[in-house]
Amino acid sequence: MNRKKAISWLYGEFAGLEAAGILSAETIEQLKVHYGPVSMRSKRSIALLLFSVLGAVSIGLGIILLLAHNWNALGRPVRTVLSFTPLMAGQALVWWTLLCRSRSTPWREGSGVFLALAVGACISLISQTYHIQGDMSTFLLAWVVLGGPLVYVLNATAVALFYLAGITCWAAAVQFEHSQALLFWPLAAFLAPHIWQAFKNNPEGPRVQLLSWGLCVALPFATGFVLERTMPGLWLVVYSGLFCTLLLAGRGPFRAVRLNAFHLAGFLGVAVMTLILTYDGVWRDIGWNHYRHGAGYHAWLIWQDYAMALASLAGVIILAVQTVRRKDWLAAAAIGLPALAVLGFTASAQDVPAGIMVGAFNLYALILGAVIVVMGLQRDELITVNAGMALISMLIILRFFDADLTFTIRGLLFIVLGIGFLCANVAMVRRAATRKEAES
């Protein structure tokens, strides 16, 4: 139970405690002064917020789909009026919200989302009416640039999440059209003040929670879309640094946030990257000697890729200081991933045989898994123990699929792994039960 919920529960008990003569009215008053007012947002207002955003999204998307049908029978003037109708409705709604409901989060979020979608519907119908050339990236860019400022006009986090999805899709579209996505960075930086403000106001609040989920989903995709990949293999340094930074952020500054997205995305990313780097093919033909040229690549963007690699490593270094201070050995073990990735990339670029890196990462995956299991056992965290065991099991399974072993041996291996999982879980549950009994 978090602090707010605990205080709310305590306040609910006061009436009964006073009636039973356990607490006096004076003591209750003193307790209320000590703990302060309960500022929990009621379930009703959260439901209202959720439905306002979902309602706006449904209506907005419905309008886009209706317009996408293409009503050929309607002439150009009617279609032009139709293009602007949802836009004007959205603008009127936002104007009214700013004037009369500026303190209502459901109104701000709902009207913002509706107007953002109406902008897209308007551009879509005009493109359709005049048969304007495809070019998805130009369409998405116009959409996010015209809808993005609503994040600040209405202080709307739902619009911020749409914006984040929009710029990620734009980066994908632009790379698909063989262009470059350098503009992604200033577009992403536009959101920084909103995220900072949300974090400053309430680091454990729902806004931070939603934004961190948005960031953790968008960042790994966006990184892949934005990377120019003229330098083969640099991606493994960038991704190792990125996922490690997410994990360290989740175990550091954001550790108090419920449903910690940074922790989950970081852990999954670190585990998957570690397993990917145990493959031979990843370490072949990478580095300076295999520089990519040609029509699809923009040579000067190698600087962007270098900057991304440096930024992801800088994130790791900054957060690593905190990790060492807190003696968080799981996070410390995860730092090994970017460190080894940098060493591996440098060695591969100088034509060191791939087998050495493959061996090093197999060993690292085993150590990382073991550290996670030990941490879980020390802290009595069943989920952590299972996560560590899952990593070790995946490593063993992958290696045994690579190796030319008989079905009998593979079958036995799976049975042994299953028994291991069951025994560890039963032991942990029993230990927890024994401790609970001893405490009571």
Partner: protein, 187 residues
């Protein structure tokens, strides 16, 4: 100035921008439709789908190769201007291609790509990429249009009409053997 006034002022600027972008898209094309000259371009239609903008007929145009403007080799995605004239049947013919807008109304902003030949590689010529690639139709009509084209592909003449004025072109219709495709679908 209080916070609300600042927000309202900022929102007013945003509203103006939200009107300006679609309006400029409309005005440019309306000018071409009103003042532009009509040309025909031969096409091969196909039917894909756009999640936001709906169903359309993708237009593949016959390749037009020209001498590179300015004498030098063509770089990929080079912007240029194609001066057009109509033949006796109204089909567009490229009179010249230049890097600067010509002194006429009947030109279209196009993109040039180096022309490649499978045997000889770069031919030294430039291929024109027209600024049209789709003709939007009703949800059920676009696949029907493609079916009609497939059935008649060998014997039919399929073309679009475009109105062109000072660099901008707007498609005004898709025709199969001189009849609007919408009319053929209705029958």
């Amino acid at each position: 100035m209080n916070k609300r006034t600042i927000l309202l002022a900022a929102f007013t600027v945003l509203v103006l921008a939200q009107w300006a972008v679609p309006s400029s898209m409309i005005l440019r094309r309306e000018a071409s439709l009103r003042q532009g000259k009509e040309f025909k371009l031969r096409v091969r239609p196909l039917d894909p789908y756009d999640a936001f903008r709906g169903r359309f007929v993708r237009l593949d145009f016959d390749a037009v190769a020209v001498a590179p403007p300015g004498g030098g080799p063509v770089v990929p995605d080079q912007k240029a201007y194609a001066l057009l004239k109509a033949d006796s049947a109204g089909f567009a013919m490229v009179e010249s291609v230049s890097l600067a807008p010509p002194d006429s109304n009947d030109y279209l902003a196009v993109t040039l790509q180096p022309e490649y030949n499978l045997r000889t590689g770069n031919t030294g010529k430039a291929q024109i990429v027209w600024p049209f690639d789709r003709y939007y139709m009703e949800e059920a009509a676009a696949p029907e249009a493609e079916r009609i084209y497939r059935e008649r592909a060998r014997n039919s003449m399929v073309y679009v009409t475009v109105r062109i004025s000072r660099g901008t072109g707007v498609i005004t219709g898709l025709f199969v053997d001189g009849r609007p495709v919408e009319e053929m679908i209705r029958k």
